[in-house]
């Protein structure tokens, strides 16, 4: 379970998150809805530890995110996924290389295996034949699907 207690975050003196409390239970799908600029992304980035809250607590299964050292945070993040607003694909890599990147970093898979896995994924999101394209050569929607 993920628990958020009195989360506060602001930028340049302007409060964005004003004391958020929430609980995310295992096995449930949660939605965060709000107007543009209301702080949904800021909230998620706080949950991931990409932003440091001004106040409050973020607790993962009884363990406070703010008390975790960088290695523990890293391990925790490996279990998370996030689709960024700008897709966050690496400009210098092709679509296929972007998909293979985590496999290359964290598995012992050989290139052929990684490529096969990347092609399987591309097939699932209807992006066959885009393997060698650069992120800038595909549409925003396609970028989101690759991400």
């Amino acid at each position: 379970m993920i628990e958020i207690k009195n989360l506060r975050k602001g930028f340049n003196g302007e409060a964005v998150l004003k004391g958020i409390d929430a609980k995310f239970e295992q096995g449930k799908t949660n939605m965060i809805i709000g107007a543009s600029g209301s702080g949904k992304s800021v909230f998620l980035k706080n949950m991931l530890g990409l932003f440091e809250p001004d106040k409050g607590e973020i607790i993962y299964s009884g363990e406070s995110l703010l008390d975790m050292d960088i290695d523990r945070k890293s391990d925790l993040r490996k279990e998370m996924g996030m689709l960024f607003q700008h897709s966050a694909l690496f400009d210098s890599m092709t679509v296929e290389e972007n998909i293979m990147f985590p496999l290359r970093m964290f598995s012992r898979m050989k290139l052929a295996e990684r490529r096969e896995r990347a092609n399987e994924i591309l097939e699932r999101v209807n992006l066959v034949n885009l393997n060698k394209k650069m992120p800038s050569e595909i549409s925003g929607g396609q970028q989101k699907r690759v991400a």
């Binding site: 990409l50 960024f84 690496f90 290359r104």
Partner: protein, 246 residues
């Protein structure tokens, strides 16, 4: 106070660069790519500038030699000394701050703006190590570039003065060999190593910690160029004081 905060943050960044290293096979590839981008990619322009600067130094020296008591070999001597001691290590580093420094700041800054750095963090990768460490290692090869620049600069001086009929080949070579102190070469390369580290880390700092959008990437590149130049010039003075006057 703000300056001190930046220095502290810069130091913390340097510590972070050496923590949680990236997979060796990936790192090896990144280092080779950076050597290609930062060092090999800079040979052309720096050699071109160096060739002409060497020629101009030789010409200026020759044109200012009015006194018949001063030997013509001074042209070779002055070219060698100015190229080895200052032009190759310092002047080329300032040029590199513009070429390589802006590239580093803008590439890392764009990654920050487009959340690619956040994506690395979410994947559990240390972005500091992944992005900056290969650049530091690549720029440790910077003295090889400077060695080429030294040769090309002196060659430029030779072409301008000997083929411009300002000095004979024999006099130029005598000047090149006159009062040669091997420590000067070591001094130049020590300076180059320090400048290389500054060239890799200061622009990386400005790119990594930038905030805002595309416009701020441009501003960060300019700021990074200014601070890299300042750091190079100050380090040049301190190193000269330490290495040549003691």
């Amino acid at each position: 106070m703000r300056f001190l905060r930046h220095i502290g943050k810069y130091m913390m960044m340097l510590i972070g660069v050496f923590k949680r290293p990236t997979k060796t096979s990936v790192l090896r590839e990144l280092v080779l790519k950076e050597i290609d981008d930062l060092i090999i990619g800079s040979i052309g322009i720096t050699a071109f500038i160096s060739l002409f600067m060497g020629a101009v130094v030789a010409l200026q020296t020759a044109l200012n030699l009015d006194n018949p008591l001063i030997p013509k070999s001074l042209i070779g001597f002055a070219t060698r000394q100015s190229i080895i001691l200052e032009f190759a290590p310092t002047f080329i580093s300032v040029i590199m701050a513009g070429k390589v420094g802006s590239y580093i700041t803008s590439s890392i800054g764009t990654m920050r703006v487009t959340e690619q750095i956040d994506a690395l963090e979410v994947m559990g990768i240390n972005p500091l190590n992944y992005l900056i460490y290969p650049k530091i290692i690549a720029l440790l090869f910077y003295p090889f570039l400077i060695a080429i620049i030294m040769f090309v600069g002196i060659f430029g001086g030779f072409l301008a003065s000997v083929y411009g009929n300002l000095v004979s080949l024999e006099d130029f070579v005598v000047g090149l060999q006159d009062s040669f102190i091997p420590w000067h070469i070591a001094y130049a390369f020590i300076k180059t190593m320090v400048f290389g580290i500054l060239l890799a880390t200061i622009p990386s700092y400005h790119g990594y910690y930038m905030e805002g959008g595309a416009l701020e990437v441009g501003k960060a590149s300019t700021t990074s160029f200014v601070w890299t130049c300042v750091a190079i010039i100050v380090a040049n003075y301190i190193l000269t004081q330490i290495l040549l006057t003691t």
